[in-house]
């Protein structure tokens, strides 16, 4: 096990990248702490899988270095890095039995049969396939196959890191929870560094201690689920995390007041004067409808999500969402909205601006 360091790493799939837009992965420097459980979150095509494949050595980066525990492994083959990786779609060796599939990584490394048998039993129990060890893999369902892939990833105890590339896409929801719990338990018991790629925020937030949000080939924020929720560093994080995502509204900020189309409200803290595209971001959870206070708003639709209500409304020509309690009465007389000043973030060119007094 080791700390994984990405040093000025960048990757382009083109042979001669001309500008930054040719890079699938923009230059980044980042440490993955030994024993951390990370989720790599982002929409499709943002470079998550590229990053994962660089760490596992399936891809050699165009520039920069990859270090395992301080040792340069940038050009080392996958086998030398001692990494386990599970892919989005199940990979099983069809002609082998379930048992032989699980034993495959251990046997290839020349472990003795007694140890192999013991480990296979353990893993089979974990993925709930103890009674199917003797059967061939060819006729199994997709989720059984994916469980075997997961099991093959977990069968080695001494791996430097366990990488998961959206491994639960093909698994049915009930089993998803169970396997995710198993993965957490495995992390707790053995303390492997785990990196879990997903585009499902619930999956990311429940699995990881630290969530790494990627957008357009760049890491935009690394933080605990709470930090991502309270202080999104980039409008993408605000929009991507949360359901519905953060409301982002163009505004003008002067001192501690925000101006939207002439109306204004208090931000609680002061901001330095700024240039460029300025927006304010408010999560729907921190916006409240009111009859008298706040700025004018026009309710379009109220959706009942069970535990709460989601109000879709129009706010100075912009769509905004507001979350209200299940027992709140939403009437036609509620024509104003108030934002909780402590939870309003200010963005300049999509990046969060720290208010005066906050350590940036």
């Amino acid at each position: 096990m080791a700390k994984i360091t990405l040093d000025n790493l960048a990757h382009s799939y083109m042979a001669h990248p001309r500008g930054e837009e040719d890079f699938a992965l923009k230059q980044m420097t980042h440490d993955w702490e030994d024993g951390g459980a990370y989720a790599l979150l982002g929409s499709s095509g943002c470079g998550k899988s590229t990053l994962l494949n660089i760490i596992s050595g399936l891809l050699i980066p165009s520039q920069g270095r990859v270090l395992f525990g301080g040792q340069d492994v940038t050009h080392a083959p996958t086998a030398e890095r001692n990494i386990a990786q599970v892919f989005q779609f199940p990979v099983v060796y069809d002609t082998m039995t379930v048992h032989d599939n699980l034993a495959f990584p251990l046997r290839n490394r020349g472990r003795d049969e007694a140890y192999v048998a013991e480990r296979v039993q353990e893993i089979a129990r974990m993925i709930g396939m103890e009674d199917q060890l003797r059967r061939k893999c060819s006729g199994l369902t997709a989720d059984a196959k994916q469980k075997i892939s997961l099991g093959r990833g977990m069968v080695r105890k001494d791996v430097n890191a366990l990488l998961f590339d959206e491994p639960l896409t093909v698994i049915d929801p009930h089993m998803k929870w169970e396997l995710r719990t198993q993965l957490k338990k495995l992390h707790h018991d053995f303390g492997h560094t785990m990196i879990y790629v997903t585009h499902d925020q619930t999956e990311a937030l429940t699995f990881a201690d630290k969530v790494v949000v990627m957008y357009d080939g760049r890491v935009v924020q690394i933080g605990t689920p709470e930090e991502l929720f309270e202080r999104p560093e980039h409008t993408f994080v605000g929009y991507f995390i949360g359901s519905p995502g953060m409301n982002v509204i163009p505004a003008k900020v002067e001192g501690s007041r925000a101006y939207i189309n002439g109306s204004n409200f208090d931000l609680g803290t002061g901001y330095r004067a700024m240039e460029g595209k300025v927006e304010i971001g408010v999560r729907p959870e921190f916006a409240r409808l009111s009859q008298t206070e706040g700025l004018p708003v026009k309710i379009r639709r109220v959706e009942d999500a069970g535990r709460h209500k989601i109000i879709r409304a129009e706010f100075f020509g912009h769509d905004i969402n507001i979350v209200a309690g299940e027992d709140e009465n939403i009437g036609p007389d509620m024509t104003r909205v108030r934002f909780d000043p402590a939870h309003v973030n200010v963005y300049r060119d999509d990046w969060r601006v720290a208010p005066e007094g906050e350590a940036a």
Binding site: N53, S56, G57, L58, P77, T78, A79, I83, A84, Q85, F87, Q88, F89, V91, Y93, D94, T95, M96, F104, P105, N108, R109, S138, S149, R152, G153
Partner: protein, 289 residues
């Protein structure tokens, strides 16, 4: 619902019946007819029953031809299948060179069979052929008109040259259908090159390889033109395969009865192989391969 009975409708299928009758049934029945009769000339025929079949089944000549035929099919399969797989494994996966290789390998498949025979007939001649002259000048005794071994080597190499591409192209198609994730997972699992072949590539190619083997077996089992053009079945009877022997018997010696019986048995063997081919393929489909 009342069905309208109109027997005139049968006339509508008549053209097909006539066509099939003239193209397949009647010629085949002629052969059946010859196989159960004997003649002493003058177009006078006598009923012979199953005599010709009995004679053919006990004829050394036919068994020897069958033996040579099986040996030929066995040898070319043993060379073409592994060689085809080897070529497919080493072909570029994409880009200009992949297309280039595909075109290059398709070329032998596009050449008419008697042209292939002529090419090798000339190529191997010791007086003017590039191969024959070269070998002879190197002091190697190679003359396919005199040496059984040389004749066999020539027709086997010719068939390998002509048909390995087919196996390679089918195997290549099978390989191309394997998702990258399999190779990546194998790297993660630290599988050796042999294990990647044994547990990933071979199982994924099994379906197309089965087609390749059966196609090559059937084709080589019926082969006539190419070896006939090169060796004419010689030296002696050394390269007289089933088809060549059949033509000699029917058209050379004009032994219509035995040749007809021979034809029917040959036909039944091919039919049997086709049936096996069909059964194996449909079972593979059921298994989802």
């Amino acid at each position: 619902m009342n069905k309208t009975v109109n027997h005139k409708a049968w006339f509508l299928v008549l053209p097909v019946l006539v066509l099939v009758a003239f193209s397949a049934v009647i010629p085949l029945m002629t052969v059946v007819n010859y196989s159960v009769q004997d003649t002493f000339g003058n177009n006078q025929f006598f009923w012979a029953g199953l005599e010709w079949f009995d004679e053919m089944l006990h004829s050394d000549r036919m068994w020897n031809a069958l033996g040579r035929q099986l040996m030929f099919s066995g040898i070319i399969l043993a060379i073409e299948v592994p060689l085809g797989i080897f070529v497919a494994l080493n072909m570029p996966k994409s880009g200009f060179w992949a297309s280039f290789c595909l075109v290059l390998m398709s070329l032998p498949l596009l050449i008419p069979w008697n042209v292939v025979g002529t090419i090798w007939q000339v190529f191997g001649r010791v007086d003017i052929g590039l191969l024959g002259r070269t070998l002879e000048s190197l002091g190697i005794d190679y003359n396919y008109t005199q040496s059984t071994l040389a004749a066999w080597i020539t027709i086997v190499v010719m068939d390998v040259w002509h048909w390995t591409s087919l196996v390679a192209l089918l195997a290549y198609a099978g390989l191309k259908s394997i998702p990258d994730a399999y190779y990546q997972a194998a790297k993660i699992d630290q599988a050796s090159r042999w294990k990647v072949f044994r547990y990933i590539e071979l199982p994924k190619m099994a379906g197309v390889l089965m087609i390749a083997i059966l196609l090559r077996f059937m084709d080589s089992f019926m082969i006539y033109t190419e070896p006939f053009v090169v060796t004419g079945g010689g030296p002696g009877n050394a390269t007289t395969l089933l088809s060549i022997d059949l033509v000699k018997m029917a058209l050379g010696q004009f032994d219509l009865g035995p040749a007809a019986a021979f034809s029917i048995m040959y036909f039944l063997v091919i039919l049997l192989i086709s049936w096996v081919f069909y059964t194996v393929m449909t079972n593979l489909d059921k298994k989802g391969m």
